[in-house]
Symmetry: C2
């Protein structure tokens, strides 16, 4: 019913909870706060699949239950079962080999792989200095890195160094390309574990950025490689290590050396490695097959281009029952969908289509006839799981109940653990039998705020500045709302790609600080402008070469909507955001001073020319290709336009948005005769985490209280 959905303005609303006089504190509401955990909806510890059985932790006991009788638990393991390890509190465990009675856990610096049936330590590994651990289930080899080199340890604890680079500008076995393009790791075991593909990144040519670390006496510098837009980029190659011959070859990915080697995948027979190769310009993507033995290019199977950008984010996935066919994900029709290809590069058929997007693939069923996916088909602010028949394309929705569902498949793929929330539902956990559709409830969490006077939260849509696109907003009225009063408003914004703030999840996705501000008498408003996530390609790529422009127009539409509400005081509108949201906050104050009077910009990008290549050039092209775009979005050149109150907050060890952004904006303000305010969180990176986050939100709150109220 997608068409109808876009025709009507729909509003769903969370009713205010019963009123009492208690007030929530920042410690209650901010992650890291002393009492924060008391207000996280009830959950089940370590709920996971052990084969096709449920396991979870209560107290010091690990329980097990049948999937269709989750309430009928029996003891699997107790703390005493770990006594030989000197463990005082149950560790976090996983079941690395499916239904085998084997668990993995760490104690101190040691990783144990332990057969709890036979009470036998199968393997132990001292993890000190080791990172990026990657276990292969079949061969039982563990790959890991120490500093910039890659190692393998087998089940007998025999260790081999796979690389031996002494130049610290060369990094092996780690995620590359700034973790863009879906890259989260640097090692890729072949199915059998006999071969290991790994990234090698040469960043010796990448400029160094010095991060000042002020905690030591004297301060010291931590030099990082930071590839700024328009400068030289790193060179990535892919090595293939053969555990039997001990040989390493490198795939002949050739020239130019500046390109993105993304989404590495093995063929089922382990003879071929597939790479989604993207040019530095990020407008031409090729799926290439390389011979895993010789490293030679076998063929280019698929080519996709776009005059704005192409963004590969998922590796290809072979059909379990047909090693000649695989699934390719593409936004070519405007939304991310699945396409069935064969290894000749021939499109067999699209598996999904429509004006909604596939969010992720969960896996195949045991017969290999269906694939489980998550998608936005129901609504862009919901996430549901579907079974898609590979032959017919027929989709069956498996998750019920409005909202955002996160699921995990059991070993035999028959059962799902389904965990979801929506605006009024804190957390529901159930097991779903994908065969029968039956649902076995595990937990219905209580509302943790019943003792408090909570604000009314509503979700709805408005039209974007293009006059046609629906934008989703979240509106929070002040606690103790009085419709005859006029309230100040704080807009919480992100606005950049890859993020969605408004979802039909608990409290509508509102953050604790939003609730806190509503308690203090603010309207709190958020709208996901064009450019944000989960709405398809065109919605997103309107931002190309002009970051901020269209995004801000949509934010202004949000303000226009607010101005229709009689209780909103349009003379007292503030805005707050972090990172891209800091860029938006600053930009909104500079561009629309008649609307936005007070802003708090955290970790803000002030000049895209100081941001990194992978993310930056995707959206902006390079500074050489798009000087006007960089110029126009360079807030340091517009510091003189500041009229309202702007608090800039930055972390002095921010390695994502460098503190140089803030310093150059300050310098520009000094030269232009404008007066932003400033705060710095020493020792923090791209956000303020831990208990210091409470301090941060007190600082933000005080700024609005002082200047907007």
């Amino acid at each position: 019913m997608r068409t109808l959905y876009t025709l009507f303005l729909f509003v769903i609303m969370a009713m205010p909870f019963r009123a009492e006089n208690k007030k929530l504190t920042l410690h209650d509401l901010i992650p890291g706060g002393k009492t924060y955990q008391s207000f996280v909806p009830q959950n089940i510890k370590q709920l996971q699949w052990f084969g096709d059985q449920l396991t979870f932790v209560k107290g010091d006991t690990i329980y097990i239950a049948a999937p269709d009788q989750p309430q009928k638990k029996t003891i699997l393991l107790t703390k005493e079962d770990f006594s030989q390890f000197g463990i005082k509190q149950l560790p976090y465990i996983t079941f690395p080999y499916g239904k085998q009675a084997i668990i993995e856990f760490t104690k101190g610096d040691t990783l144990y792989i332990y057969d709890f049936k036979n009470k036998e330590i199968l393997n132990s590994l001292n993890l000190k200095g080791k990172n990026n651990r990657d276990l292969n289930r079949i061969a039982k080899n563990i790959a890991y890195t120490i500093d910039n080199n890659l190692y393998i340890s087998d089940s007998n604890n025999r260790t081999k160094a796979i690389t031996n680079d002494t130049n610290t500008g060369i990094i092996n076995g780690q995620a590359v390309h700034q973790r863009e393009f879906g890259i989260e790791k640097g090692t890729f075991w072949s199915p059998s574990g006999k071969h290991l593909a790994f990234y090698r990144m040469d960043e010796t040519m990448v400029p160094t950025y010095p991060l000042l670390h002020a905690a030591t006496k004297p301060a010291k510098v931590n030099n990082i490689k930071y590839p700024m837009a328009g400068t030289k980029s790193h060179h990535v190659t892919v090595g293939i290590y053969d555990t039997e011959s001990n040989d390493t070859i490198f795939l002949k990915t050739g020239l130019p050396k500046e390109k993105y080697l993304t989404n590495i995948a093995w063929s089922p027979d382990e003879s071929v490695v597939y790479i989604s190769e993207l040019n530095r310009g990020q407008d031409s993507l090729e799926l290439r097959a390389y011979d895993a033995k010789s490293g030679k290019l076998i063929s280019t199977l698929i080519k996709e281009t776009h005059d704005k950008w192409v963004e590969p984010e998922s590796p290809i996935l072979f059909l379990p029952k047909n090693p000649k066919e695989f699934i390719w994900q593409s936004e070519r029709d405007g939304y991310n969908h699945l396409y069935l290809y064969n290894t000749d590069g021939k499109l067999i058929r699209p598996l999904t289509s429509g004006d909604w997007m596939v969010l992720s693939i969960l896996g195949f069923d045991d017969k290999g006839e269906n694939i489980y996916i998550q998608s936005t088909e129901e609504s862009p602010i919901e996430k549901h799981t579907y079974k898609v028949n590979l032959k017919t394309g027929k989709r069956t929705r498996l998750t019920q109940g409005k909202g955002m569902h996160n699921v995990s498949l059991s070993d035999n793929k028959r059962y799902l653990i389904d965990q979801y929330s929506n605006l009024n539902t804190p957390r529901e956990i159930a097991v779903i039998d994908t065969k029968t559709g039956k649902r076995y409830s595990v937990l219905s969490a209580k509302n943790p705020f019943t003792a408090y006077n909570m604000p009314e939260i509503s979700l709805g849509t408005i039209k974007a500045a293009d006059g046609k696109t629906d934008l989703h907003y979240r509106l929070i009225k002040p606690v103790d709302f009085d419709s005859t009063k006029k309230y100040p408003t704080v807009v919480y914004v992100y606005g950049g790609p890859h993020a969605q703030l408004v979802t039909d999840s608990w409290l509508g996705g509102a953050r604790g600080w939003d609730i806190y501000m509503a308690q203090l008498g603010y309207v709190v408003f958020t709208v996901d402008n064009r450019g944000s996530a989960n709405r398809g390609l065109e919605f997103e790529n309107v931002i190309h070469r002009q970051l901020g422009t269209e995004e801000m127009k949509d934010q202004v539409k949000g303000i226009e909507y607010l101005s229709t509400l009689p209780y909103v005081d349009t003379n007292r509108i503030g805005v707050h955001g972090w990172s891209f949201g800091g860029f938006m906050t600053t930009n909104l104050l500079l561009t629309y001073p008649e609307i936005f009077k007070v802003g708090v910009a955290g970790g803000a990008v002030m000049d895209w020319g100081l941001y990194e290549i992978m993310y930056g050039e995707r959206y902006m092209d390079s500074p050489q290709e798009n000087p006007e775009g960089y110029d126009k979005s360079n807030l340091t050149k517009r510091a003189g336009d500041l009229k309202g109150d702007l608090l800039i907050i930055h972390d002095d060890e921010d390695n994502v948005v460098l503190m140089q952004h803030a310093l150059r904006f300050l310098d520009a303000s000094v030269k232009a005769g404008t007066y932003p305010d400033l705060f710095i969180y020493p020792g923090h990176e791209h956000n303020v985490r831990g208990i210091d986050r409470v301090h941060l939100h007190e600082v933000i709150t005080r700024y609005f209280e002082k200047n907007l109220k």
Copy 2:
């Protein structure tokens, strides 16, 4: 009449000027402001001695006049005389060889020494990359440094490298010991210019501090050697270069290597070099004589110790007519005075004494019978010039008119250019004939503020917290003062050693910002607490091992005095200071929150353990020797005591008080749950200079206006 002076509370007062409605702006009042020069009392450009004749510049002409007829000027040189140099505007000139018709000036990167009578270029030197220029008048050699090495250029432009150190941790020919102990340069010509003594500093063992320079893309680090209190210090030695033999020897200053070699002086016959050697503990000073040929220690002439500190600041000075006798300056009787010694180290007699101090020696008269000095004998807030007879000790005051006199002696020492101001006198310039005492007026500057409604400024004294010592204060009433009103007050503070803020000079030494705040309706108050300059040893060294403690008690005495004034609103008292004054400001807010509600602390020392060795250990001893003192004065440990509004301002390239002070205080505040504010001036060093200084004072002003008013 010193005794009387300390018995009575005396008040001198500047009457408010006639009222009009114009307001002074920060650009009018702050150095670097666009219109600042219009409000500097009228002056005479390049007024100096050419032998015993006066010269000065008006427009594009250099004039000359007889000392006793300063108004009867004739043309010495015009712009046209410089036409061969392509000079469009008259350069700054000096007369390096006294009354010889020779001038020195620079055009672009070139230094010219030019005989303007014979129109002959005697020497020219490309200064690019050259620093620390030091000309010997007799031999006409110029010493200078390039990077860390020392060179000499003779009058025929032949250049020799005196040192050849490739290790950049070794510095030759530059000021050492952080420019403490009166050290301002690193080269010392023997009288004839045949020998050059120079400093060599090995700072390879000194910790490096990384200053972040954010103006480049990417930011870069400027590593400086910063010897933090308690850490390893540099090793300084003294080289002697012989221009005839081209040999360099080093004085055998021996062990320990960590000591201070200060106040280098040559014997008149050039055979001996004298050094005031101070131990690292700074409590034992020895005047040592070294053989300039062999470098061997000849003798230790004088030894002075003190259980707090000894601080040599002036080299010995030989009598012109007796090469066996010299003048030694010492605070041994509690005030800096002159002592006549012979080269056997025997005290012949004190030349001056009393509860006042010699500020500087200007030189001898032509017969060598008298010495000219400046002292505080008249008043600690005035500075006068005296002639002291070397035989009888008889002092004759040469400068008349209350206030601060700065003088310069003519070539034959008969005449003084005397330039002075006092509370009500913007600037008076005259020539004084030291023989007859006659005064020939050169300039009486007009009050530059006559068109403005100025505040009433008064100077006075209060008792220090010790109950006996007089402290000098400056009180500025608000413009348009109304005695029935209650006004907020801003205390401007420095409070550290080596500085004096309250003097009987123009506006009482008030800064432009003080006047600006008075315009905005603030009382502006400054008191020089114990520890500040020009009051003698005991007044100063009460701060030893406990920086801040006694200084703050005296500041509280200032507030007690203010509270006796009916128009001061004691609920609205703020404080502002920079550097040591930033330390005081922060400390006052933390220690006396019931008094000080708002503070602006610039470039503040927050932890003396992060400050440098020479200054820091003099006053605090080392952290190892005085852990309690460092702990108690460490404001980062007391960040939790912050109750009022504190704005911390720091320059991110501050190489004196490192930005680490601010960052660590912020971090401590975050941990302690307190909320200082912050601003940073990127690219500035230990203060904000140039036009950005106007922005700084707008920021400071806004902070008080927002939080104190």
